[in-house]
């Protein structure tokens, strides 16, 4: 039965999991875990923190699944929770850093780009220059961009996650894109 669940639509899995079926919940976790992990990594800049975020989101998701009005939208919901938790973690990390000093606020396993020649060969120049440009963006623009392009969220969803207006999202996203375009064209 467990493997059978893997071909079953999200809404069915979400319905079963909301009823208490842990096998269905596990199936959902495996289905969207990688996307959640990729998103959390891009937002927090840390592999370890990203896995913590994924685990915390799964715990919260189990607890709140029966409140989900649209079971078919469980994927977007999981990604939205991932975005929120990642940003909360960044906020806590920054608060901690302000107590301990600036040199401590960069995680040892930073995902941020610092492209070297080896990376360029492996990843392709396009991605490399994008990563470099992304790391240079102001934090609030980067978050908007990642939530849009990696989490696939709408303006309204991003606005809710970041607690700003949709108009602010539109502005930050546009500024982020323009800066990124400029940076990447300088690379060439």
């Amino acid at each position: 039965m467990r493997d059978q669940l893997d071909v079953v639509p999200d809404a069915i899995l979400a319905g079963r999991a909301a009823d208490g079926d842990t096998a269905a919940f596990e199936s959902l976790a495996r289905r969207y875990g990688p996307h959640m992990r990729a998103s959390a990594r891009r937002l927090t800049g840390s592999y370890a923190d990203a896995d913590d975020v994924v685990q915390e989101v799964l715990v919260q998701a189990w607890q709140q699944l029966d409140t989900l009005r649209e079971p078919a939208a469980v994927k977007a919901w999981l990604l939205r929770l991932t975005g929120s938790r990642s940003i909360d973690l960044l906020r806590r990390r920054r608060n901690h850093a302000s107590l301990t000093g600036p040199e401590d606020d960069q995680p040892a396993d930073a995902v941020s780009p610092g492209a070297g020649p080896e990376t360029a060969v492996v990843a392709g120049a396009g991605i490399t220059s994008l990563k470099a440009a992304l790391s240079a963006l102001p934090e609030e623009q980067r978050r908007c961009w990642v939530l849009k392009e990696i989490n696939g969220q709408s303006y309204d969803e991003i606005a809710r996650t970041l607690n700003i207006s949709p108009a602010s999202v539109r502005g930050r996203l546009a500024r982020a894109r323009i800066t990124l375009v400029r940076e990447m064209e300088d690379w060439r």
Binding site: M1, R2, T22, A23, F25, E26
Partner: protein, 110 residues
């Protein structure tokens, strides 16, 4: 007592498991679900059967799993009788809650 209360309950036909009295958790299928099942005859009954004093009368409460082959209403009545029997001559009221209905462990199926 020669047999524990846990054994007395498990001896009732149709009972598959006795669950801890507090905080029911479940693990995902990959982990051993037997965390919730006690096979040990010397199992600490106090963790399985919650005994409360309700204005002079003692209430013994237990949570069980029932086999899908059994008839649940009959099983819970038999369990209540077994508990009362085991605790007599103490005058207890009994609370039995079925939290799971599934094939007995080792049977074919999920």
């Amino acid at each position: 007592m020669s047999t524990s209360l846990h054994q007395a309950i498990m001896a009732v036909d149709g009972v598959t498991e006795v669950f801890p009295a507090r905080n029911l958790w479940q693990r995902l299928p990959g982990r051993a679900a037997s965390l919730l099942q006690r096979n040990n005859a010397d199992a600490d009954d106090s963790a399985l059967v919650e005994v409360r004093d309700l204005g002079g009368r003692t209430e013994a409460a237990v949570r069980i799993g029932v086999s899908s082959d059994a008839r649940t209403p009959e099983v819970v009545r038999a369990v209540a009788a077994a508990i009362r029997n085991h605790l007599s001559p103490a005058d207890v009221s009994v609370k039995v809650t079925v939290v799971r209905i599934a094939p007995a462990r080792g049977a074919a199926g999920v």
